[in-house]
């Protein structure tokens, strides 16, 4: 069932129906810790729906989405937890989370899954720095004594300074330091994409879900984005799950690629394997007219 050595995320038999439409059909895949996993597929394949299920915005019709922090031995308790009907196990040395049972904000807070959006969702009327401080809401809330101590002016300043330092760190990495005090809505498109990633990273995620981060970027910007995503994987204990149409990004940086078509997984492997996969080529490029029937039979449609 869980086929890899140290998976971070295991999606099993995930099915999502919207009325009569089956957006995702029995999808199973894993994302490894410390890797960049790409989720690709033609338009309407159900990639963003998978993201919405993982991050708790949709409740899947069927299936299990499990995520482990810390020691891999937590995986052993997966079936017991599922039967017990609870959402998660949290211990000092690790945690096991059933994401399909958790509301969206708890997926972000406890399971530490951060995400960006296909159509950028920044707080446009707030400054770049404020955007990054909102991302650190939960630790800051605790530091301000759930507002009670904060209103009295006790002990919050130190926590805020630390939060600003962390924001500064991410602004530095994403090259936005000079624009820290500008409203987020004033940034150019590429910078807004980077800011959204910086904001997601400020939540200290274990898994970062990027929904088409290279959409609308020019070649130079998408090259910078590649470097940024790689540095997130290498320098921070964050694994990446990526939806992307730009194959130059996908093939260059992913460690593992999952291909979806019409809600069904049609391929799963390293970028090189995917490039040469007949089903993937058929899904993306189509096939000659005389081979349609044969290919459809092969693909299973």
């Amino acid at each position: 069932m869980v086929t890899y050595a140290r998976p971070l995320l295991a999606v099993e038999h995930l099915t999502m129906r919207f009325g009569g439409l089956i957006a995702i059909n029995d999808l199973t895949f894993t994302a490894q810790r410390g890797e960049i996993t790409a989720l690709i597929g033609p338009n309407g394949a159900g990639k963003t729906t998978v993201f919405n299920c993982i991050t708790g915005f949709y409740k899947p019709t069927k299936g299990r989405i499990a995520l482990v922090h810390g020691v891999p031995t937590m995986w052993k308790e997966l079936d017991a937890l599922t039967r017990r009907g609870a959402r998660s196990i949290r211990r000092p040395n690790g945690g096991l989370f059933l994401l399909e049972r958790m509301p969206d904000y708890l997926v972000a807070r406890h399971a530490r899954v951060a995400r960006t959006f296909q159509n950028i969702r920044l707080f446009a009327g707030m400054t770049v720095l404020e955007n990054l401080l909102v991302a650190q809401h939960n630790p800051l809330m605790a530091a301000s004594g759930y507002t009670v101590l904060g209103v009295l002016g006790l002990g919050y300043a130190f926590a805020e300074r630390a939060a600003i330092d962390k924001a500064r760190h991410w602004l530095d990495i994403t090259g936005l330091l000079a624009r820290a005090d500008d409203p987020a809505g004033d940034l150019p498109y590429g910078a807004q994409r980077r800011l959204e990633i910086a904001r997601a990273m400020c939540t200290d995620p274990m898994l970062l879900c990027l929904d088409e981060p290279a959409a609308g970027l020019n070649p130079r910007e998408s090259g910078e984005l590649n470097a940024l995503i790689r540095s997130i994987r290498d320098r921070h204990a964050t694994s990446v799950l990526l939806i992307e149409h730009d194959m130059s990004v996908v093939m260059e940086i992913s460690d593992h690629v999952v291909v979806l078509d019409y809600g069904v997984k049609i391929a799963d492997g390293t970028p090189d394997e995917i490039k040469n996969d007949a089903k993937v080529i058929a899904a993306y490029l189509g096939v000659a007219d005389d081979k349609v029937a044969a290919t459809e039979a092969e693909v299973g449609l």
Partner: protein, 461 residues
């Protein structure tokens, strides 16, 4: 030279266009005022309703409008065009004057309100001061406080609340009933009334959490009406329409404001005057309003305040960052309601009598208008708008001069709704985002830059 040549035809006064505009204005005015001024219903000697025409008056107004438009077209418009050409749009930046104003206006305002009673006493004397402190000072400050409270819900969290007066009522009735039943003092009951109002805020919050925009507005409107109807119909407790009278008046930390030997005036060796109580009440509501401002300014810089504003900007993004939007909305409702409750209990102790009459939808609308006029989220804007709205309607009562213009039957106070409407239209035309349309960031790295109102969202529920 080329630019001057191009500009020349525009600077020349276009008499033909001005005349045409004046003609259009005249026709529009005629059509608009024909039913309003042109006709008058009167009862004739047979006791029937008859229509009387007032052509001279009507054409007087039409001529006034046409001439006004002509003068405008010939003088103001060319001047504005010239000015627009002289100052390119790019030059619009924060001027040092404006920065200094933003810096010193709040301080000057606080200084002024602190010495206001003394100023009034010095100018109007003991006899005339009560009116100015009570009708202007206290009345405006109550609305400033209500505006601050609603500003948290509408301006910061972006939740449109049309039933805010419900919390004002809860605060007022809580104080009135508890003070009359248990004889507790004002300062003891103030936090209690605030807590009860906050409790009702949360109670309202729960069912409306899923609603947005128009739907939220309708449910909050209904909530305000429900509270008022309960106050009317729950006669054994609230005494219905008759209201609650004989509410204990505030004391100076235990010393009553009366003419007795142990009263305030006697204790401090002063001659008795009702003005002392008014001044005391003024400082109480001033302290409450300043407390509200202080807390709101603080909250904006705390994570909860930023979460409110983030919620107004984008709720889904908030949830993706681990913010519990349910709790965040509830705290906004509760904080707003609490300040409304404070204002309500102050209102009860000031009036000594409350009835459901004081808590109609019009009150909610007035408070919301103050917040919208002021600029959503801006403390200073709300204060200015409250002064304009409440002070403006109060000052109408004082304008006896108008009687010499419109005749002795003219009651200026009757025109307050007209003023209200004019203010709204004017604001919508000139400052659609309110008097203070910019947003000040809650934190900055190098310099504090104000954020243009066009970027700030108004919330969607």
């Amino acid at each position: 030279m080329a630019t001057a040549d191009l500009a020349a035809p525009n600077t020349r006064i276009d008499l033909g266009r001005a005349l045409r505009d004046a003609g259009i204005t005249a026709v529009l005015t005629f059509l608009l005022l024909l039913p309003l001024i042109g006709f008058k219903t009167v009862q004739n000697i047979h006791n029937e309703l008859a229509l009387e025409t007032r052509w001279p008056l009507l054409f007087g107004f039409v001529a006034l409008a046409a001439v006004g438009r002509l003068v405008y077209s010939l003088t103001v418009l060319p001047w504005r065009e010239r000015r627009a050409r002289r100052m390119p749009a790019a030059a619009a930046g924060p001027s040092p004057l404006r920065a200094a104003l933003a810096r010193w206006l709040p301080r000057a305002a606080i200084g002024f309100v602190l010495v206001y009673p003394a100023l009034v006493l010095a100018t109007a004397g003991f006899g005339g001061a009560a009116k100015w402190i009570d009708n202007f000072g206290i009345q405006i400050l109550i609305y400033v406080m209500l505006g601050f409270g609603l500003n948290i819900v509408v301006g910061l969290a972006g939740l449109l609340d049309l039933g805010y007066v419900a919390f004002y009522a809860v605060g007022a009735y809580s104080y009135a009933l508890l003070a009359k039943t248990f004889g507790l003092s004002f300062f003891m009951l103030l936090p209690l009334a605030g807590c009860l109002a906050a409790f009702w805020g949360i109670l309202l919050g729960f069912p409306v959490l899923r609603l947005r925009g128009d739907y939220l507005a309708i449910v909050t409107l209904a909530f305000g009406e429900i509270i008022r109807l309960v106050l009317i119909n729950w006669v054994p407790v609230t005494n219905g329409y008759a209201g609650i009278s004989g509410i204990p008046r505030p004391t100076f930390f235990g010393i009553p404001f009366n003419a007795d030997d142990n009263g305030f005036a006697a204790t401090f060796g002063l001659e008795f005057s009702p003005i002392y109580r008014t001044i005391f009440l003024y400082y109480v509501i001033l302290a409450l309003a300043l407390l509200t401002t202080f807390v709101t300014v603080r909250l904006r810089r705390l994570p909860i305040g930023r979460a409110w504003e983030a919620l107004r900007e984008d709720e889904i993004a908030c949830r993706s960052l681990g913010i519990n939007t349910t709790n965040t909305k509830l705290t906004a409702f509760a904080m707003g309601a609490m300040f409304g409750g404070f204002a309500g209990s102050f209102f009860a102790t000031r009036q000594g009598f409350i009835s459901p009459e004081s808590f109609t939808f019009l009150e909610s609308a007035t408070i919301l208008a103050i917040v919208v006029l002021g600029g959503m989220g801006s403390q200073m804007g709300v204060a200015i708008a409250a002064i304009a709205m409440i002070g403006g309607t109060e000052i109408l009562r004082e304008l006896e001069v108008l009687k010499s213009v419109f005749g002795p039957d003219f009651d200026p106070a009757q025109y307050r709704m007209l003023l209200f409407g004019f203010a709204m239209v004017a604001i919508m035309v000139w400052r659609p985002r309110g008097l203070i349309a910019t947003r000040a960031p809650s934190v900055f790295l190098k310099e504090r830059k104000t954020i243009a109102g066009s970027l700030v969202k108004e919330g969607h529920g």
